[in-house]
């Protein structure tokens, strides 16, 4: 008689495998991200040899100290590298927001742009920028944060009791986007100068052109804090699979977790919008792609979405700079061209309620 294989004898091997797999996965992700950033930094209007680029990156990070052409080094360090890093942070942050909102609202279409949170952040930022609200004491980021919280409140109020009605929150998001976009257009068309208008319109579709090192620091800090917070809530997010009451019955302090994570999402969205404008569909597409790779469990989903989002955004920025020679498209155009069809596919695939 053959002895029965008990789960105990398999446990050590399974444990080693479960440890090895994430290391491999995230290692590959980090390598891909580094490669994407290196690619984005080495390609541009002014041709810079690849070796110079690498040396300049090394210099910027303090790893190497190679004497280089000053202009070349400055282009790489102050323009391209900072731009690529902010792009990576934005992609990571928006993907994280999407994953969180999809779990909390139990809606596969939820993300900051679709729900109008980005629109609210834009309104807040424009109000500070054009109207000078707060008399200079209020920064653009704070304005965007207040705006995104306002949009969040509007969506929640419009869909009251959101989680039980999956489609209603999307409709509320549509209404909220329209409202805040109208407010933005009103502020811009009545108060801004012609030059400001052109700048703002470009910026509303997403623009990584103006970012420098201070933005890199802010973006990295915000994404890091948000990521750690969300990861700490990963099991709570899993518990939301069957809704709020089910989560509460599993011992999750539902109100506290929702409040914390909605605040983090609003803050993250606001930080990103105030730096680079409203970029749509990243938060929608990336979590779904990540789920295809690692499944729906949030401990694995969140880091995967973070890395995938970062890589996607760096590459999207590269495409936006290359696709029309001599000028760069707003990055929101590129992400929407990828994201809108995916939105349609998700909508089409959505299962009818049982």
């Amino acid at each position: 008689m053959t002895p029965l294989r008990t789960p105990d004898t398999r446990a050590p091997r399974a444990a080693r495998r479960t440890l090895l797999l994430p290391v491999l996965l995230y290692g590959t992700g980090l390598l891909l991200l580094a490669a994407a950033i290196a690619l984005a930094v080495s390609i541009g209007e002014i041709r810079i040899p690849f070796t110079t680029t690498l040396a300049a990156i090394g210099n910027a990070l303090g790893i190497s100290d190679v004497p280089l052409d000053r202009i070349h080094e400055s282009i790489v360090r102050d323009y391209r590298l900072s731009r690529a890093l902010v792009a990576a942070c934005c992609g990571a942050g928006l993907a994280l927001c999407g994953a969180i909102l999809q779990a909390l609202l139990r809606n596969p279409l939820a993300e900051p742009y679709v729900l109008g949170i980005s629109a609210g952040a834009s309104t807040g930022a424009v109000a500070v920028m054009v109207l000078g609200l707060g008399g200079g004491a209020v920064s653009l980021s704070l304005g965007a944060f207040v705006g995104s919280l306002g949009a969040f409140a509007a969506v929640v109020a419009l869909s009251s009791g959101a989680a039980s009605r999956p489609n209603r929150i999307i409709l509320a998001g549509v209404a909220s986007s329209q409202l805040f976009n109208a407010l933005t257009a009103w502020i811009v068309s009545t108060s801004a100068s012609a030059e400001q208008v052109r700048g703002i319109m470009f910026w509303l579709l997403g623009n990584l052109g103006g970012v420098r090192w201070p933005e890199v620091q802010l973006a990295l800090a915000v994404v890091a804090v948000a990521f750690v917070t969300c990861l700490a809530c990963a099991r709570a997010l899993d518990a939301f699979t069957f809704g709020q009451d089910a989560a509460a019955a599993l011992g999750i302090p539902v109100r506290g977790v929702r409040l914390l994570l909605f605040t983090v999402t609003a803050l993250l969205t606001a930080a990103m919008v105030s730096m680079v404008g409203a970029i749509g569909f990243v938060g929608l597409v990336i979590p779904h792609a990540a789920r295809l790779v690692v499944g729906p469990t949030h401990v694995r989903l969140l880091p995967t979405a973070l890395l995938t989002g970062a890589i996607f955004m760096v590459l999207a920025d590269l495409v936006s700079r290359l696709v029309v020679p001599g000028q760069s498209l707003p990055i929101g155009v590129v992400t929407a061209l990828v994201g809108a069809p995916v939105f349609a596919i998700i909508l089409y695939r959505a299962r009818p309620p049982m």
Binding site: A11, A239, F242, A248, A249, G251, P253, G295
Partner: protein, 264 residues
């Protein structure tokens, strides 16, 4: 006495849904909550597991008021199976059952041997061990309900609350689920609609109407023709079945209104 409710009331939007309900649950029993739609069965279950806060009255667990217990401690002792709860996520049977370990896991601790053991036991209990890797959305209604029960059992609760566990199931699966619940050693409280199935599978019945408990006790003392008429407005004859020995309710056609005929 593990769980007791003392004069518990709950109202929402100005309407009184649960009206001064008192009851005590005996360990190991299977209790059926009966009553017409809107009688307050689901609300009472939600009050008992702390998902809603009573507007008056007290619920106690081993004489400790529910409001003084932490959500997590409550989840370790009490599990809830909701009415046909589902999800769009691409999640497997195993993933769902593992959710039951949520209240037992600390923030940083990984998956432990005792978690695996509880999940294995729960899967075996509902005969879903072989299908652990099946996707949730490919399961039938009855199978989903069994997985939900396994998830609840993985919580290793002292008491299990079930909100209409047989809803939307065909008769075979209804009998299947109820027999499964009946076999559990855990104290079970379930909201039910079918009086005959309740009489077959429950030790105790609680009959509710308009938020109040009309009768509570053994099936024979609760299911009388007078009470059935009082609560449901239906005439019935109740007798002991010669086939299975449980009470059997025969509903009679209405006589207070002319039936379908020429004279209307």
């Amino acid at each position: 006495m593990p769980i007791e409710a003392h004069e518990v009331s709950w109202s929402t939007a100005g309407r009184l849904i649960v009206d001064r309900v008192s009851l005590a649950l005996q360990p190991g029993q299977t209790v059926g909550l009966l009553g017409p739609n809107g009688a307050g069965k689901s609300s009472l279950l939600r009050l008992l597991c702390g998902l809603r806060r009573a507007s008056a009255g007290v619920i106690t667990f081993d004489e400790v008021p529910l409001t003084r217990l932490k959500r997590r401690d409550l989840a370790r002792r009490l599990a809830l199976v909701e009415q046909s709860a589902t999800t769009d996520a691409d999640i497997t049977v195993l993933d769902v059952v593992r959710l039951g370990r949520t209240p037992w896991r600390s923030l940083l601790a990984g998956w432990r041997g005792e978690d695996s053991a509880a999940v294995e036991q729960a899967l075996a209990r509902v005969a879903m061990s072989e299908r652990r890797h099946q996707q949730w959305h490919t399961l039938s209604g009855g199978e989903r309900q069994r997985v939900h029960i396994a998830r609840a059992l993985a919580q290793q609760p002292g008491e299990l609350l079930l909100d209409e566990p047989t809803n939307h199931l065909d008769i075979q699966h209804q009998l299947d689920i109820l027999a499964l619940i009946r076999r559990l050693e855990t104290t079970c409280v379930m909201a039910l609609h079918d009086l005959n199935l309740a009489a077959m599978f429950c030790d105790q019945l609680v009959l509710m109407k308009a938020g109040r408990v009309v009768a509570a006790g053994e099936p024979a003392s609760v299911l009388t023709p007078q009470r059935i008429h009082e609560v449901y407005g239906v005439a019935a004859v109740v007798e002991r079945s010669p086939h299975h020995g449980c009470l059997q309710v025969h509903y009679l056609p209405r006589t207070d209104r002319p039936g379908p005929g020429p004279e209307r």
